[in-house]
Amino acid sequence: MTALPAWKLDRVDPGKMKTLALLLADPNPIHLDAAAAQRLGVADRPVNQGPSTMAMAANMALAAFPEARLVSLRTRLLGLVLAGDSVEGGGNVMDRKIVDGQERVRCQLHLDVPGRGRVLEAEAVLVLPAADGNR
């Protein structure tokens, strides 16, 4: 089992949540408005959308294998990520297999918010590019 390089996002940007709310057509105010998140008793800051947190896991896997194509991402969302949080990630390569002539790497991933604990666990499968001469 090989550890993936440590991954970190310094600050979750509430402005990106607003863009994503439009792209997702997601009207939930907890992603837009700190006052709404407070009023609903969810958090004191805007709450990052689940797919954005999933994207961080995908980014971590693709940072470890920059030329690869991600073909599967299975995630469990375990806690909230809030505006202004930093997020730290890690994981391991679980196995590597040749399927239909392509090398597939299966990784287990996790993301943590320092001080609040684990927010996501995931499994990703990436297809590595064919080595020169095998194309």
Binding site: L9, K16, M17, T19, L20, L23, L24, A25, D26, P27, N28, P29, L40, V42, G50, P51, S52, M54, A55, M56, A58, N59, R69, L70, V71, S72, L73, R74, T75, R76, L77
Partner: protein, 138 residues
């Protein structure tokens, strides 16, 4: 109403190049012509023929009442493309009553969305929502 196996209205979605750029940026990813893998989630969400608010209403919930995305699975059968039309078909696969210490009784509702491009299956997105069911409503 029994929600399990309930087909959702189909629809379509397209990721325009500027939306692809914005989505990469919103996902903390360097913008590039190939969509981010989690763009499949966005296309499913936007392309299914029912709004998120109406989907939660179908669940007997309200988008403002705290339904949670608990799990999500994305399978990319082929690379996604910007500027391409995706037909989105979906169904509610299962509904299971559960209980958690944090939110009490809740329904674990699994929805599957298939994305087709030019008639071929391009991606499958399976989302599991945790919908709180207060004791008085169960």
């Amino acid at each position: 109403m029994d929600l399990a196996s309930h087909a959702l209205p189909s629809g379509s979605a397209r990721l325009e190049p500027y939306q692809n750029w914005l989505l990469h940026d919103a996902f903390y990813s360097q913008p590039r012509p190939e969509p981010h893998p989690v763009a499949a989630f966005v296309l499913a969400n936007r392309g299914i023929g029912i709004s998120l608010a109406d989907l939660f209403a179908l669940f007997g919930s309200d988008i403002n009442d705290g339904p949670l995305l608990a799990e999500s699975s994305i399978e990319l059968h082929r690379p996604l493309a910007e500027d391409a039309d995706y037909e989105v078909r979906g169904e509610i696969e299962s509904v299971e009553r559960r209980r958690s210490r944090r939110i009490g009784p809740f329904d674990r509702i699994t929805c599957r969305f298939d994305l087709f491009q030019a008639g071929d299956l391009a991606a499958t997105v399976t989302n599991v929502f945790a919908v709180p069911r207060p004791e008085s409503a169960s």
